[in-house]
Symmetry: C2
Subunit: 336 residues, 2 copies
């Protein structure tokens, strides 16, 4: 069944099943924030053939990944999700079931974080396009910004990097899996298709901070952070730029999954970890006395991957602290 | 200069001039609501060749109209705007100046309502696409929903209808302007290119309601409303459907601009008023004792265009109260 067979009203009826009935159906959605919280808003656009393709991504995975990317941005700000809106551009020839599966995938991801789809827009477009805006709430003193990194801070990475890029490679070139165990292959592909926004890190972070009674300067939490959606190198460079500092990143402390090292050697694995992107982990810069506690509590291959320094360069160093290379933004994904 | 000449970073730098510096540059934007207010969210997607074209719409007008449509949805909910996010899909071949002019047009519209662009996403797409999400705040007891219309209520229309559709016709067929005065032509085209979201109606509405001490039942304001973005007929039918009621609409009470009647005869003018869409007025259903006061205060060709009835049909009647036709959604704009 094609969209032109059921028209806009028919499609909207089917999609409203994925939304809370009490919210949808007016000019706009209404959401309540907790008292004292501020609104946190982020938006992402995904275009068929640019950000996803049938070759590597099922419609459910398109939906899951789109929702996860936006929730990850909220996590990176220290915010709890309240809801998302979905702008969907589809051709008249798009299968209705394709659209429903995208919403199914979004709902599966959102459901893990009790986040509803609160509205949206469905329009005709020559190319399938998905535009998601996510809203969250955060306590003002706990908003995590990029510009708060200070020399001496430790750089905490909440999980492994490079797996998502490896999973994409396996989907694009299935012949590469020859020497790979089935479980490793599955783990890498799952990292690409079903990334998890690290909202689970936040309560752990707040608990440790509360216990340590960190000084809060001018209501600015002394933690800098962002997510690693555009690669670990990008995240560290962006934080350093916004904070006017630099960093020393220890290449052997960057967490990389065993499944990835079973697939490729350490050099390409490191390259994917730094520049592959879409791992959706958090990169947090904070006083070293709490960084260790956070890594201890998080487990699961979180790590202290480096330190913030005053000199405004981002260096990758080996075990002997020799500078291996200077990280910059140019090797990341360029959109044009 | 094309977008591929300056790349994503170059484009983002140029677009950030349109955004408040203190908000932009993190994973998400942070906004503060007034205490006791709820968050109101709406989203719209516009696609080149579907919702706008170079033939009828300059880039500034594309931006203005996109911003106005979203602010109109907030007005229709009784909400004051806080900010918008902009998702922009562009080809590498899109002129940088085209994009800047779109943002210029958005900023001009938003500036009239002190509303900032707080974030967004710029991506590559084979078709130019604009996805806007607007956030507002509203006092819970003053949120205007579609489902609160009750038999006996008057239907207030805040301004003239059909002009936007007439302006589009003049842009598509410039040869039609032969017998039209320059001032009429300009007025109709402006109605299409620079519609005004009726946020100005809200303070007037609240003042009159406060003075009349309307009963608030279960915190539900006894006012139903929406905007007429999809046509006046669509707005009335949608409100009636959501409220489980019907309406009698008096064809001779529907406000139509003189400039429109100088352009076409009353029958096509009425048709455009009912089904043309994009006039972005508000359609408010409320107790008749206050409806008159609102129209008096609003002036500018606002009018009471009909009454809500218990019978679930929407009838268009002439001066003799003879039913002229039954309004329904089918004649409106179908997106697929």
């Amino acid at each position: 069944m094609k969209i032109r067979d059921i028209g806009e009203q028919g499609l909207l009826q089917r999609l409203q099943r994925f939304c809370p009935a009490e919210i949808v159906g007016d000019d706009a959605a209404v959401l309540r924030l907790q008292p004292g919280c501020e609104l946190v808003v982020t938006t992402d656009m995904l275009v068929d053939g640019v950000h996803f393709s049938d070759r590597t991504t099922s419609p459910q995975d398109v939906g899951w990944r789109a929702a996860a990317a936006n929730l990850s941005d909220l996590a990176a700000m220290g915010a709890s999700p309240l809801g998302i809106t979905v702008g969907l551009g589809v051709t008249g020839d798009t299968d209705v079931s394709w659209v429903e599966q995208v919403y199914q995938g979004m709902s599966e991801c959102l459901g893990q974080y009790n986040t509803p789809i609160v509205g949206g827009d469905v329009v005709r477009s020559p190319v399938v396009t998905l535009s998601i805006t996510a809203f969250g709430e955060a306590i003002p003193s706990r908003i995590i910004r990029r510009n708060a990194a200070q020399p001496g801070y430790a750089i905490v990475v909440t999980g492994v990097h490079g797996s998502s890029r490896a999973g994409l490679e396996l989907l694009l070139h299935p012949e590469l899996e020859q020497n790979l165990q089935q479980s490793d292959k599955k783990a890498l592909i799952k990292a690409h298709q079903r990334p998890k926004p690290r909202l689970d890190v936040l309560p752990i972070l707040w608990e440790i901070i509360d216990n340590y009674q960190l000084p809060i300067t001018n209501y600015q939490l002394p933690i800098a952070g962002m997510d690693s959606s555009d690669g670990l190198a990008d995240a560290i460079v962006q934080i350093c730029r916004a904070s006017g500092v630099g960093a020393v990143v220890e290449r052997n402390h960057i967490p990389i999954a065993d499944s990835l090292l079973n697939f490729v050697s350490s050099e390409p694995a490191l390259n994917w970890a730094l520049y592959g992107g879409e791992d959706f982990e958090l990169v947090l810069c904070l006083p070293s006395e709490v960084a260790g506690k956070i890594v201890e509590k998080l487990g699961n291959q979180s790590a202290i991957a480096g330190q913030i320094i005053a000199e405004k360069t981002v260096k990758l160093v080996d075990n002997n602290k020799e500078t291996d290379k200077i990280l910059n933004l140019n090797q990341g994904f360029q959109h044009f």
